[in-house]
C-alpha cells in the first residue's frame, strides 16, 4: 500500500501549531517514513498536486482567501483536522468578532495611535487583496471538519499520537496529561 498523503496549512493562525508539529523532534524522521507530504508550508509545496488523505488546518477563516484555501483542502483531503484553538473556535483573531469590521479597519489604518504616514487616509482596497469577513469563523462553520485537536498549540505528542492512530487505524491514547489544559 502506498503511504498516506498529508497536507497542512495555516489560515488565520500564528504558525504556532506548525511549530508544534516540528516539536515532534526526531520523530519527524519516523513521520516521513510513515507519510508523504503534499501541499504544506513544511515542504513549501504551494499547490495540491494530487488527492490527499489527511489535511491539518491551523487557524480560522478571517478573509476570503482563507475560505478558498479551506474549501480547496476539503476538496482534496479525505479527512480534515482542525488543529488548535484558532481553527476550532477562532482563537485570538476572533477577538475582533464583537467589533464591526469598519471600526476595526478604521482603527488599524486611520485612527489608531500608531498610525503614521497614511496621509491619503486610505484603507487598503486593492482588488488583489483578500476581502475581510464580517467575523472570524471557526473552520467547522465553513466546511465539514472530521476531527479536532485542541490546544494552543496542541502538544506535539497529541499531534503525533493522532496522526499515528489515524494512519495505523489503532485507537488513540488519550492520557490525562493530554486532555488537561491548565
Amino acid at each position: 500500500m502506498s503511504k498516506p498523503i498529508v497536507a497542512t496549512t495555516s489560515l488565520a493562525g500564528c504558525f504556532g501549531c506548525h511549530m508544534s508539529v516540528l516539536d515532534i523532534d526526531d520523530r519527524i524522521l519516523e513521520l516521513i517514513e510513515l507519510v508523504e507530504f503534499n501541499k504544506s508550508p513544511i515542504n513549501d509545496i504551494k499547490k495540491f498536486t494530487k488527492k490527499c488523505d489527511i489535511g491539518l488546518i491551523e487557524g480560522g477563516c478571517a478573509n476570503s482567501e482563507n475560505v478558498h484555501v479551506l474549501k480547496d483542502f476539503r476538496e482534496h483531503c479525505k479527512i480534515l483536522i482542525s488543529l488548535g484553538e484558532c481553527a476550532i473556535m477562532g482563537g485570538l483573531p476572533a477577538m475582533r468578532n464583537g467589533i464591526p469590521v469598519r471600526e476595526c479597519l478604521e482603527e488599524a489604518y486611520l485612527n489608531g495611535l500608531t498610525v503614521a504616514g497614511n496621509t491619503g487616509k486610505i484603507i487598503p482596497n486593492d482588488p488583489e487583496l483578500p476581502m475581510l469577513l464580517d467575523k472570524v469563523y471557526p473552520c467547522h462553520e465553513v466546511v465539514k471538519i472530521d476531527y479536532f485537536l485542541p490546544g494552543c498549540p496542541p502538544r506535539a505528542d497529541l499531534i503525533w499520537d493522532a496522526l499515528v492512530a489515524l494512519i495505523t487505524g489503532d485507537e488513540m491514547k488519550l492520557p490525562y496529561e493530554v486532555i488537561k489544559f491548565d
Binding site: S64, P100, R102, I123, N125, L133, D134, E141, V143
Partner: protein, 600 residues
Amino acid sequence: MKNTITKTIAKYHKDKTRLMDILIDTQEELGYIPKEAISQIAEDLHMSEVDVEQTISFYHFFSFQPTGKYSIYLNNSVVAVMMGRKEVASTFEQELGIKFGQVTADGLAGLFETSCIGMNDQEPAAIINNMVFTRLTPFRVKEIVRDIKEGKPVVDMFRASFGDGKNASELIRSVVSNNIRKIGPVLDPFYKPGEAIKKIIKMKPEEVIEEIKRSSIRGRGGAGFPTGLKWEFCRKIEADKKYIFCNADEGEPGTFKDRVILTELPRLIMEGMVVAGYAVGATEGILYIRFEYKYLERYLENILQKAREKNYLGKDIGGKKGFNFDIRIQFGAGAYVCGEESALIESAEGKRGEPRDRPPFPVRRGYFDMPTVVNNVETLCSAVKVILNGGEWYKSFGTTESTGTKLLSISGDCRFPGVYEVDWGFSINDMLEMVGAVNSEVQAVQVGGPSGALIGPNEFNRILGYEDLATGGSLIIFGKHRDLLTDVVLNFTEFFIEESCGSCSTCRIVPTILMKKLKKILNARGVAQDIEDMTEWGKILRASRCGLGQTAANPILSSIKNFRHLYEEKVQKNKTFDSGFDLNAAVLESCEATNRIPNI
C-alpha cells in the same frame, strides 16, 4: 436634576434595597438614567456605581440613553405579528422617520421593541409612556404620531371609549379590555371583600393551612407545587420576620389573566395575601407586578389605601390583636426571568433579577434571607375561595390530581380571545369549541406559552391538568395558514434569547446556536443532521439553573417532536452536510467599508 433625584432617594428613605423604585422614578422623570444620576444614586445609597449600572443594564425599560419624550414600545410577540404588527411597525417608522431602537433627532419620540406585554387578546399593542394602546392599525398609528407631534399628553390621546369594567374607572382610564368570557369561583363578580379575613381571625393559623391542604390546591404559575405544603413549611420555620410575595410578573407570552384579576378583583388578591400572611405568620406582603401593568398603579395604590382605612391591612387586622400585615407594590422593569420566584425576590431587593441557586428555597431563605412564600396571583385568589367555602367544596371542581379551576388566557386564531375560567380536566377540543375556533382550521395549539408544548390535532383530546398538560394558562391557537416555524418557533426562540439573564452558559449560548440552525433550515441550507443536532443539543439546557433556561429549547424540541414534517420538508435531500456559510454575505460589510466590489 440633582434635586429631583435627591427627592426620589429621600422618598425611599435612602434604602438601597429600593433601588428598583428609585430607578423607575428616575427613568420616568428624566426619560433615561444619565451618568450623573448614577453617580449621585451610588453616592447617596453608599453603593458602587457599577452596582447601580448592573441593575440598570439588566432591565429592558431602563435606559442609559434618552428614550424620547414619548417612548414607544411596540410588542413583538407571536400574536402581535399574527394580528398585523408588521404594517403597524412600518407605519411607526415611516411617520416618525426613524428605525426601531432610535430616537428622533429632536428627542421627541423613541421607538423600541419589547417582548409580550400581556395584551395578546387585543394585539397589536404598544406601551407609550406607561399607557397601553391596543388594537393598533396603521391608521391609528398615524393619529398617534400626529398627537405626538402636537405634544399632546398621552392620557389625552385616546379616541375610542375606554375598556370594559374597571378599565374605564377614573384611576385607570385605559383602552385595555378585560375580555372575560367565562367566570367561575375565582372570577365570581359577587365576591365580597373582607369575608375571608373575618373568617380566618376566628381560626388558628394551623387550621387555615389545614383547610388549604384539604383543597389540594397547587401553584397556578405552572410548576404546581402544593400550596398548603408551601405555607406549612414556612409556618414551621422560626424567624424574626416572614414575607408573602404575590407574583404578578406574568411574562410568559400569551398570558394575561393576572392583568384581568388585577383590574377587576384586586381586593381578592390582597385578601389572599392577608390570608397567607396570617397562615404563615408573615407581617409584610409584596405585590410584584410587571412593569407593563404600570398603568394600574394609581388604581391599585388607592385600593391598598382604602383597605388600610377599613382595617383589612395594617395593625390588628379585623380587630385581632397582634395580627399585623401590610402590602407594598413593587414594580418590575421589564424582565421575563423575574417571574421565577428567586429572581423575583432578587429584583425586589433592588438587584439584577438573576435566579438564585436552590436550595435553599425561598420558604427557608427568601426576601432578605427570611422565610418567604411566593404565590401566583391566581393561587392566592383561589385560596380565599377555599377559606370561604371549604376545601371539600373546592375539590368538587376539576380532577383528582388537579383540583379547582384554572384561568386560561386564550389568544390567536379564534373568534373570542380572552380570559376563561374552566375546571381543570378541560380538553383542548372543548376549549377550541368554546373560543369559537373551527377545529378543522386549527393547525396547532401552544399550551403553556413558549416554555410549554406545541401540539397538533392528533393530541387535541388531551386535557389541561397537572396529570397531562400542565399550564400556567396561556393557550395560543394557530390556524392552518400560519407558518409555524418562521412565525412561531423562531419568534419564541428569539424571545428566550432576549430574556436570558446570562448567568448559565447553557442558556446564554445554546438557544442562539439552535436559532442559527433553525434559520439555516429556513434558508433552505439545512440537512437532516441539523434536526438531529437540535434534538440532541437542546437537552443540554436542562443543566440550567432556572425554568427559563431549562425550557428555552422547548419551542424547537416540541415542534420537532410534533411537527417533524415541517422540518423535513425544508432540509436538503441530496446533501449530508452543509455548514450554511455564505461567503457573499460574509464579505459584504468589509467591502462596503473599503468601497470594493466583492469579487468572489
